[in-house]
């Protein structure tokens, strides 16, 4: 009788990835969740249970900021879903048209902003939109629409949408590339078969291509969701940690930063900060779960 051999090689091959991932992702994540259950009183750390969360959700001072940041975050996400992803799909559809010339040039040009740093993007757009030195007012003046110009980044009602659109400009290349790849993988035979049945041009896109790339669109939506709810950089680079004007561009990321590290005379509070970070984690987790179990499992896949 032969005992089952312990297959060491599996452990050995898994070890590097598991160790690295545990050290830099899993451990910090759980430590953050743990930190959220403590508070600091007179220089000593004490366990307070869910007290920090009670403060965060029910203390009017904190909850107002939290819901404001969450609401702004949803708006940020909605703008991306309504503007970035449809434009990305449309660009990909145009780029994949076989008779389009200079497709590679357009593709690179649209993708380039994605590889730029947030700091550069934030700074460049701040200058473009600046009412004093910017080119936006003079360009509008050139076409006679100067009256439409507003100091967008400085007005409560426009600032967040403006920043969301800047972010769309920066990242529209990602859905474009993913959809472009998905479109290229659709076999020519299917399209030709459709043509025989009389489905050509734009209706070929709606009736054949779109259903086939739906899984990719789903992936893009979830990537957008995770990316937007973790967003921080662009707002911080262009509006600072107070996410002005009057917190109108405050999203969870900037709220977390301000709380965790402190700002100006406000001292950092790692425990409340961790509570916010845990909240962000929960929101993203719930969103991803809804997608994975509610949407992805029901999505029809086609054999290609």
């Amino acid at each position: 009788m032969q005992r089952a051999r312990i297959r060491w090689h599996i452990a050995v091959f898994l070890a590097p990835a598991v160790l690295v991932y545990t050290a830099i992702m899993i451990f910090p994540l759980f430590n953050t969740l743990r930190l959220a259950l403590y508070s600091e009183v007179d220089q000593t750390r004490i366990f307070v249970g869910l007290d920090n969360f009670r403060t965060l959700f029910f203390d009017p001072i904190w909850s107002e900021q939290f819901w404001n940041a969450l609401g702004n975050n949803f708006w940020f996400f909605i703008v991306h879903m309504l503007v970035q992803n449809p434009i990305g799909v449309a660009l990909a559809a145009i780029l994949s048209h076989p008779r389009l010339r200079f497709a590679a040039l357009y593709r690179s040009a649209i993708f380039i902003p994605t590889i730029l740093s947030f700091v550069i993007v934030g700074f460049a757009w701040k200058l473009i939109l600046s009412p004093i030195w910017g080119i936006a007012p003079s360009m509008l003046e050139f076409i006679g629409l100067k009256s439409l110009f507003q100091p967008w980044l400085g007005k409560e009602e426009y600032a967040l949408t403006t920043l969301a659109l800047i972010s769309v400009w920066q990242f529209v290349g990602i859905p474009m590339m993913l959809i472009y790849a998905a479109l290229l993988s659709i076999p020519e035979e299917i399209l030709e078969a459709g043509e025989v049945d009389g489905i050509t041009g734009i209706s070929a896109f709606w009736k054949i291509k779109l259903p086939l790339i739906l899984p990719s669109i789903g992936i893009i939506s979830i990537l957008t969701f995770v990316g937007n709810f973790n967003a921080f950089d662009l707002i911080y680079a262009s509006q600072g940690a107070l996410a002005g004007p009057d917190f109108s561009t405050d999203i969870l990321g900037t709220f977390l930063y301000r709380t965790f590290f402190g700002f100006q005379l406000q001292l950092g509070d790692p425990h409340m900060g961790s509570a916010i970070a845990s909240g962000m984690f929960a929101i993203i987790l719930i969103g991803v779960c809804i997608y994975l179990f509610g949407i992805q499992t029901r999505m029809r896949r086609y054999q290609m």
Partner: protein
């Protein structure tokens, strides 16, 4: 043979390396004054190193808005420099209480400073001082002398005159009357509210009464400055809502704006950028002949990282910072940062001299929100930024702003409950 030679070579390099380390101690200074990097490297540090051979000084500033966060992370991680530039009041007090800053009362150089100068870096009971005071900044308005001469307007002393001057510039149209934006928010509070405010709440008298709970932020003397700020909006440039702090600085130094609500820290930057003559006037009083109050804010100190590996060298540097020699170099190298040492320092820069002269004419105070009142959540200083911006934009009435701030303060500060 060859191997022995290699060993010898290694050994000798190791020896020289250690002996070099024994000779030269390098101490690092953490600071938020990245604007002053050149002055530190070219004037202050060489002056110190010439007197103290064997100690090398490294000045490593970070961006002002990030300094506190960066510093706290570095201190917690144990990678912070030997010397810490101290923000006034609670930020530094917290560092001391957390054991990151050493007490400095045993240093002889501390006797060169008045109690008021030391107050920003002491425990609440005044028992321990933990930073050597370096400098204060004074608020007021810097103006373009050429522009004033061109329009033939006089320097205003009362509020009515101040707005008359602004009206003239607005009418004329060739200059933006006043260069300030609300995008970065803090200018509105620091150069707006806390600049003109002391004339309303009578400086220290009002500030201390507010801390004691005898006055409230809803009292007229605390609300009125917001009403005055609301009048500023008409005189700021187009699109001031998105105008940033560097935008305002550039507008003024390019000669496109007439008046700049300022802190004296701007002087050295403005001197190198503006090619017109500048003057300064203190915050206008309500009626001619009123006592004037200025914000003479203790702004910079320097302390020692308790975890430093070079306490001797660090203390040597601190003692030198407390000496009259440093005060003179610093005050003249950085006009606009006025040394706090008891011995008066002769300043060469005319603009700095003009501003520091106000100390003799007016009562000095510090910014109202800095001591004790910004300890809780919501943070009064940050709230004041938002309130000042809202006042200028006209988003809320001054009374509503006062009530909102008072509610926030009363929610955690016992003397106001």
């Amino acid at each position: 043979m060859k191997r022995n030679f290699l060993k010898l070579a290694l050994l000798s390099t190791a020896l020289t390396a250690t002996s070099a380390m024994a000779e030269d101690v390098t101490i690092t200074i953490e600071s938020w004054r990245n604007d002053d990097l050149v002055l530190w490297q070219e004037q202050i540090i060489p002056a110190f190193e010439a007197k103290h051979p064997g100690i090398k000084v490294n000045f490593t500033p970070s961006a002002p808005a990030e300094y506190n966060a960066v510093l706290n992370s570095k201190l917690d991680a144990g990678s912070a420099g030997d010397l810490i530039t101290c923000r006034p009041f609670d930020a530094s007090l917290a560092l001391y209480e957390a054991g990151h800053l050493s007490g400095l009362d045993d240093m002889e150089a501390m006797n060169n400073f008045s109690d008021v100068a030391k107050s920003a870096w002491q425990t609440d009971d005044g028992a321990v001082s933990f930073c050597v005071p370096m400098a204060s900044v004074i608020h007021g308005f810097i103006y373009n002398k050429d522009a004033f001469a061109e329009l033939g307007v006089e320097v205003p002393t009362t509020e009515a005159e101040f707005f008359a001057v602004l009206d003239k510039f607005k009418e004329d149209g060739s200059y933006i009357p006043m260069a300030m934006g609300t995008n970065d928010q803090w200018e509105a509070a620091t150069m707006g509210y806390n600049n003109i405010g002391p004339n309303y709440w009578k400086g220290e008298e009002g500030r201390l009464a507010l801390i004691a709970g005898e006055q409230k932020l809803t009292d007229p003397q605390w609300v009125a400055p917001y009403a005055t700020l609301a009048k500023w909006a008409d005189y700021l440039g187009d699109g001031y809502e998105a105008q940033t702090y560097p935008d305002s600085q550039n507008l003024f130094t390019l000669g496109r704006a007439a008046i700049y609500p300022a802190g004296s820290w701007e002087i050295s930057g403005f001197n190198s950028q503006a090619d017109f003559e500048m003057g300064a006037f203190k915050p206008p009083v309500q009626n001619a002949g009123d006592t004037c109050y200025i914000s003479d804010h203790t702004d910079i100190g320097i302390g020692m990282n308790a975890a430093t590996e070079n306490p001797e060298a660090a203390k040597t540097f601190l003692a030198w910072v407390g000496s009259p020699e440093f005060a003179s170099i610093f005050g003249n190298a950085l006009p606009g940062f006025f040394p706090l040492s008891s011995e008066p320092v002769e300043l060469a820069d005319p603009l700095a001299k003009e501003i520091v002269g106000w100390r003799g004419e007016c009562e000095s105070t510090i910014r109202s929100t800095y001591q004790i009142l910004s300890r809780g959540t919501p943070n009064l200083e940050n709230e004041t930024w938002g309130a000042s911006v809202a006042a200028i934009k006209g988003a809320s009435s001054p009374e509503d702003l006062g009530a909102e701030l008072q509610d926030g303060l009363a929610s955690w500060y016992a003397p106001h409950q």
